[in-house]
Symmetry: C2
């Protein structure tokens, strides 16, 4: 939803790792996501709640388990709407750099 929530959710390396694990295998339960984690289950729960609030993860209750699904759409929206704005200045900067290098070569 809010772009700020997505940026803030992506700011934490633990949360990015959780997204990576879901990308590797979607639909994992909380316990599965806690395996090999260096923190408590409750901490992982909080991280997942933040990801869910940012709409980066969707959940589904299956019996006593809670399955987690990656939603990559907000990430792509950021890529399109925000990062896209920075492509043009990058190209401009590269062109300018090239120009400066050529100018130096002429000295």
């Amino acid at each position: 939803m809010s772009m700020d929530a997505v940026f803030k959710a992506l700011a934490d390396p633990t949360r990015r790792r959780l997204l990576d694990r879901l990308r590797a295998r979607n639909g994992q339960s909380l316990s599965e996501l806690c395996e090999h984690a260096v923190m408590t289950r409750q901490a992982v729960t909080k991280h997942l709640a933040i990801l869910e609030a940012a709409n980066l993860v969707a959940t589904e209750k299956r019996g006593r388990e809670k399955l987690h699904y990656l939603n990559p759409i907000p990430i792509n929206e950021i890529a399109d709407r925000w990062i896209g704005k920075y492509e043009r200045p990058r190209l401009r900067a590269l062109a300018e750099l090239k120009k400066n290098l050529e100018a130096e070569g002429n000295e």
Copy 2:
């Protein structure tokens, strides 16, 4: 440099606004960047230091002024190396969604 520093730098709306202002006009001094800001100059200085540490902003001393330049390259690196990883699952998810909708239509 470190991807984490870039993500953390982008997590703050004030810092994203500073990047936007530099994108609109590059090479602004600290005082210029403070205009219309709702916080003190010292606060803006700290935000710019974080952006500089993340290599998103480069600076140059010009007399008594300090000019700030946008460096969009780390943003594009994140787009390419990290966000790019999430394009494939998005397409997969959309394909699956389409399949499910078609299946519902057959019921």
